[in-house]
């Protein structure tokens, strides 16, 4: 396991997906937290959580992905946290572009692509690349 763990926040209303992602990433040496919607995620961030990366679902109750992005953009202290949009919808790339996201992962998410993306962005954030387990 690496010395400085890279934090990834997962925001998705589906328990299974949320838990699977957390599990898979934790297994690969990342520190993963999760929130069931945009509002919960925002609350965590306001409480001081500073993940290196946020995996953001678009369709969520209470506060959806787009609203979360708007709130995030208006809060300077968290505005710079890179966001990767995760969705099953066909127009995923367009949505990602529109929301100014760093990247996108289409559901069902390929394990390889997930790891590549997370690894790349964590490195970009200055965090050391996690060593393979």
């Amino acid at each position: 396991m690496e010395l400085t763990r890279c934090d990834v926040m997962i925001v998705d209303d589906d328990d299974e997906i949320r838990e699977s992602l957390v599990e898979v990433l934790e297994e690969r040496g990342y520190h993963a937290t999760s929130a069931a919607n945009g509002a919960q995620a925002l609350a965590r961030l306001r409480q001081g959580a500073r993940p290196a990366l946020i995996l953001l679902d678009l369709m969520m109750p209470v506060m959806d992905g787009a609203s979360f992005r708007a709130a995030q953009a208006s809060a300077p202290e968290i505005a710079d946290i890179p966001v990767v949009v995760i969705s099953a919808y066909q127009d995923l790339e367009d949505n990602a572009r529109r929301l100014g996201a760093t990247g996108s992962l289409r559901k069902p998410i390929s394990f390889r692509e997930l790891l590549d993306t997370v690894r790349r962005l964590c490195r970009g954030d200055g965090a050391p690349a996690p060593a393979p387990a």
């Binding site: 589906d14 299974e16 838990e19 898979v24 369709m59 919808y89 367009d94 069902p108």
Partner: protein, 587 residues
């Protein structure tokens, strides 16, 4: 000085009746008149004889002695004297009368004047007196007659033009009325009423020709009132039938005496005369006919017929307009219905797409966690024995195939609704194809296929990356499926202004009969029991290629493998239509 009337005037040979009871005087007068060039057409001795004679010979002038001897006062009804006779004659004949008289009492003169004499010759008179009196009387009479003719002609003309202007006004009014109508019935009712009114006709019918050549009353006035809806004999023996058969104006002076018409028509209309006018649509086709009847004979005249024709024209024009309007309304209604249907169909398609989109989203959500878990397990090195790892890999592939099928279903739904939107970007086809081949390496290995990539130039263009990746994927998956255990070749080249991708397998090939249908939905050339899948891969590929303005063909023969060739324009341009022009008609 003996002045004779000019020989070239009618005066010269004027025919004169002489009424004088004294034979010697009469003979003298006759001689003088003949000398003046007149013709003496009779010489009477009594007043009664004078009246009879005058009526018999119709002279141009009567020279009448006032005092006549005879049975004057004897029988009732005889003339007292010449004045009486003159009055009787004047009552029946427009003939100038000149009295011959000796000195007369006041009462006699007044009586004489009341008979409007044209002159007097006082006895005793000479030739000249007689000549002056007769000439003046004849001239005066002729002048009066001329004047009379002129006045009468002028009066007739005034009356005619008055009638004409009333008719013109009526036609104009009817035209205005027609413009405001959206139904023919009130217009036709008004038209027949107008004709009956202005032409003092006793019976007016407007009849429509209906299928079968029958004539049905659409509007009636006068004696025909209430006949609307009735059918009328359409044979040539009726005035309407005759008019239709002739196709032009018919004027009947004497209906009873005209053997063109049947007694039945006479009995039906009880008319003496009639006019029939065809009602011609602007196209020249007879809509029907107007029949106008008068009880009297000779009631119909040409001037009246032209008025009826004018009314018929107004009605015909209005009918054509109403017909056109009805057609326009019908067309508008149809267009509206089509629009509603289309909107409904759009709604249906939108609902279906929404449903499929949501359904695929819902299907993918559990798939996401399932696959993540499986893939993570497979990927965990050293933690499983080989058998477990193989089983995990198989489970992963099943999950991935399930995910692929969900994607395909969504794609097909969009293709059938013609809603393929391309996201164009600058691409290098060699990179794109190479990427797909790389991604499918696992599938290739499992199928026992070695993939050869032959790149002839970069083949750059503006295309939709995901769509083209899907095309290549579908073709490769197809090649692995039907050409398992054999090498597969993928070639990329630029041919003219098109990019070309060839995917060649050495598999079972496709019989010529099946080549056409393999690009249809749920079609495959072989039994689905031996080869899995939905049979949608080539269908999707074809539509995505066509959405790019390209085409996909196959070159194959049974047992000789197959080469699928995709050709797409290099320069599709962002403004190009992004949906296949014939996506709908293909189904």
């Amino acid at each position: 000085m003996t002045a004779t009337p000019p020989a070239d005037t009618p005066l010269a040979h004027a025919r004169i009746l002489v009424v004088e009871d004294e034979a010697i005087i009469a003979a003298d007068i006759e001689q003088t008149l003949r000398g003046l060039g007149y013709a003496v057409v009779g010489s009477c001795r009594s007043a009664d004889e004078a009246v009879d004679r005058a009526l018999a010979v119709r002279p141009d002038l009567v020279l009448m002695d006032i005092r006549l001897h005879g049975p004057g006062d004897a029988a009732a009804g005889s003339c007292r004297d010449g004045i009486d006779a003159a009055r009787r004659i004047r009552e029946r004949l427009d003939v100038p009368i000149v009295f011959l008289t000796a000195l007369a009492d006041e009462e006699t003169l007044q009586r004489a004047q009341s008979s409007e004499p044209y002159g007097y010759v006082l006895k005793p008179f000479d030739d000249r007196d007689l000549q002056v009196a007769t000439t003046m009387a004849l001239c005066k009479h002729r002048a009066f007659a001329l004047l009379d003719d002129r006045v009468r002609a002028r009066t007739d003309e005034l009356m005619r033009s008055e009638a004409r202007s009333r008719q013109l006004a009526a036609v104009a009014e009817l035209g205005l009325y027609a413009l405001g109508r959206s139904h023919a019935e009130p217009l036709i009712a008004r038209a027949v009423a107008t004709i009956a009114d202005l032409l003092a006709a006793d019976r007016v019918e407007m009849l429509e020709r209906v299928p079968g050549g029958r004539l049905v009353v659409r509007g009636a006035a006068g004696a025909a009132d209430g006949a609307t809806g009735q059918e009328v004999d359409a044979g040539p023996g009726s005035v309407p039938g005759h008019t239709v058969a002739l196709g032009e104006l018919v004027i009947v002076d004497d209906l009873a005496g005209d053997d063109r018409f049947t007694p039945a028509e006479l009995a039906r209309t009880r008319a003496g005369s009639a006019v029939g006018v065809p009602v011609l649509a602007p196209t020249g086709i007879a809509w029907g006919v107007v029949a106008v009847y008068w009880r009297d004979r000779h009631g119909a005249r040409a001037g009246q017929a032209s008025f009826v024709q004018a009314v018929a024209n107004v009605v015909a024009t209005a009918l054509a307009r109403l017909d056109g309007e009805a057609q326009r309304l019908a067309a508008e209604r149809q267009a509206e219905e089509a629009r509603v249907r289309a909107a409904h169909a759009d709604d249906q398609i939108r609902l279906r797409d929404e449903f499929l989109s949501i359904a695929s989203h819902e299907l993918k959500t559990p798939l996401t966690s399932l696959l993540l878990q499986l893939q993570a397990l497979v990927d965990r090195p050293g933690s499983h024995d080989d058998r477990t790892r193989a089983r995990l890999a198989r489970a992963t592939r099943s999950g991935e195939r399930l995910a692929g099928l969900v994607d395909t279903l969504l794609d097909v739904s969009r293709l059938t609704s013609g809603a393929v939107e391309l996201r164009l970007e600058d691409l290098a086809l060699d990179d794109l194809v190479g990427g797909v081949v790389e991604r499918l390496r696992g599938d290739a290995d499992r199928a026992g296929c070695v993939v050869h990539l032959e790149i002839d130039g970069a083949a750059r263009g503006r295309w939709d990356r995901l769509r083209l990746e899907q095309v290549v994927t579908n073709l490769l998956v197809n090649a692995f499926k039907y050409g398992a255990g054999q090498p597969v070749t993928v070639a990329v080249a630029t041919v003219g202004d098109r990019a070309e991708i060839r995917v060649t397998d050495l598999g079972i090939g496709i019989p010529a009969d099946d080549v056409r249908r393999i690009f249809d939905r749920f079609e495959r050339a072989v039994s689905s029991q031996h080869y899995g899948g939905l049979g949608l891969g080539l269908y999707v590929a074809r539509h995505l290629v066509e959405a790019h303005g390209g085409m996909i063909v196959v070159d194959s023969a049974p047992s000789a493998g197959a080469t699928f060739i995709v050709r797409i324009p290099l320069d599709l341009g962002a403004e190009e239509p992004s949906r296949p022009p014939n996506a709908q008609e293909l189904h």
